[in-house]
């Protein structure tokens, strides 16, 4: 009975037309035939329709079903092919994602290593820099102290009195001038003595004459020697004074140069201090690249891999793919499984925000007092 009712289903839209066509002769028959014949004819209309549908139209339905079946078969084949392509694509995507995920993990660890290496290197550099700077400063201080003491005579920690170079020059100059003056005095006095000796030589007492002449000659010689010594000492004094003044000037110049050099070193130190801080700057940039950029990317890839794998499993379970393809997919999935899984999630530093302006601040723009 169910089959009988079901056989009407495909022709439901045509049922009205069939009944109408079968009922067409009835109005004409009603005028010519007795009433009971007319009733029989009316009752035969649905029967005829039923026979028509069940006995004649089924052949058409079967043929349509056969055609439908063939079409379905082609569609299923196409869908199966499409599913196979989709699952192949998913498998490939899963493989690529797993590979990228592993690469990201590698990048993550490389960033960590770079941070650690650069920090260790900069700490070493900065330690050396501090040590060199301290030594250089001490050296400059010693040199300055030495030169200053030679100029001012203020020897640090000295118990005995020390004289500065200008003081010594002045003292030597004074001493040599005294020597020159003394020699000149001696020469003058000798000359005076010689003159006083000349007077008795002119007296009528001729007995003392030869002795007086000898003494005269001796005094003359002494006066001459004293004069020459005074002249030589005077020349030496001016030479020595000139040399000492030159030395004093050189010391003053060296002092100025050392001071200028000290200023230059300080400028260089300040510049190095600024440059060394860029390690911290770089480290923060790398930290931000690692957390959260790389971490988020890693998580996203892991999710994609999971989704692709789950979809692939569903497609496999639906039976829409060929058996040989399933084997290939399983092999591919097994390869993906071998790729290292994602490491633990890294937590971004709280309050760490990416600066909008990365330019190096200059001068007082970098300082703001509230």
């Amino acid at each position: 009975m169910k089959d009988f009712v079901a056989s009407f289903e495909p022709h439901r839209d045509k049922l009205g037309v069939i009944l109408l066509v079968l009922s067409l002769p009835l109005p004409l028959a009603l005028f010519w035939t007795p009433w009971w014949v007319a009733i029989i004819c009316i009752l035969l209309v649905p029967v005829s329709a039923a026979i028509l549908i069940v006995r004649i139209l089924p052949s058409l339905t079967t043929s349509s079903a056969a055609t439908q079946s063939a079409t379905d078969e082609a569609e299923i084949h196409m869908m199966r092919k499409l599913s196979s392509n989709v699952i192949g694509l998913l498998s490939h995507w899963s493989q690529v994602s797993s590979h990228s995920h592993a690469s990201l993990e590698e990048a993550h660890s490389q960033v960590d290593e770079v941070i650690a290496y650069s920090e260790a290197a900069v700490i070493r550099i900065s330690n050396n820099f501090i040590s060199i700077t301290r030594k250089t400063r001490k050296q400059v201080e010693h040199a300055l102290g030495l030169l200053e003491s030679s100029r001012t005579g203020s020897g640090k920690g000295m118990t005995t009195t020390r004289h500065s170079l200008p003081e010594l020059i002045h003292a030597y100059e004074h001493l040599l001038q005294q020597v020159t003056t003394s020699l000149s005095d001696i020469a003058e006095k000798t000359q005076q003595l010689e003159q006083s000796l000349n007077r008795p030589a002119a007296s009528p007492d001729a007995r003392v004459l030869p002795e007086t002449q000898e003494i005269h000659a001796a005094y003359q010689l002494a006066a001459q020697q004293a004069r020459e010594a005074a002249q030589a000492a005077s020349a030496e004094v001016s030479k020595l004074t000139g040399g000492m003044h030159r030395t004093g000037d050189e010391v003053a110049e060296a002092l100025a140069q050392i001071r200028a050099l000290g200023d230059e070193i300080q400028t260089d130190i300040n510049s190095i201090i600024i440059d060394l801080q860029f390690q911290d700057f770089t480290q923060q940039k790398l930290q931000r690249l690692k957390n959260p950029v790389l971490a988020e990317l890693t998580d996203a890839l892991r999710e994609i891999v999971e989704e692709a794998r789950s979809m692939s499993n569903k497609l496999e379970g639906s039976g829409l793919i060929d058996k040989h393809l399933q084997t290939t997919i399983h092999e591919s999935n097994a390869r993906n499984e071998n790729v290292a899984p994602a490491s633990s999630k890294s937590n971004p530093s709280p309050g760490l925000t990416v600066p909008k302006n990365d330019r190096k601040p200059e001068g007082d723009e970098s300082v703001e007092l509230f």
């Binding site: 700490i123 900065s126 801080q277 530093s349 709280p350 601040p361 970098s366 703001e368 007092l369």
Partner: protein, 120 residues
């Protein structure tokens, strides 16, 4: 000469600030993060605190807030030394009680001049 507490998670930064300030004759103590800084500040007295903002654990702004709650540090100048230069975060620092904001990398002359201003 002042007694100064430097707070920064970067060793290099601490070294550079320490070097600059010690050469200027200041007495410097270092702390690697906010928590260590609070402990140090409780045990010693400082005339000035210089802190980074981004640090593990307690960050610089929280540190200023915590230190300002201590009676000894209510009026002590606190400078933030950081790579952050956004107005929003500066405002947060100001609200927490920071005295000033210096953007890294700092110039030693600028740092010393700023110190002189806030200490005077």
């Amino acid at each position: 000469m002042a007694s100064i507490l430097i707070v920064d998670d970067s060793t290099t930064m601490r070294q550079m600030v320490n070097f600059t300030l010690a050469n200027a004759g200041h007495q410097v103590v270092e702390a690697a993060d906010g928590n260590e800084a609070v402990e140090t500040a409780k045990s010693l007295h400082f005339d000035l605190v210089i802190s980074d903002v981004n640090m593990p654990g307690m960050n610089g702004i929280e540190l200023v807030r915590v230190l300002r709650a201590l009676p000894d540090y209510k009026f002590i100048p606190m400078l933030m030394l950081t790579t952050e230069s956004g107005q929003e975060i500066k405002q947060r620092g100001r609200e927490a009680g920071a005295t000033g904001w210096i953007v890294k990398p700092f110039s030693p002359e600028v740092l010393l001049a700023t110190l002189k201003k806030v200490l005077d």
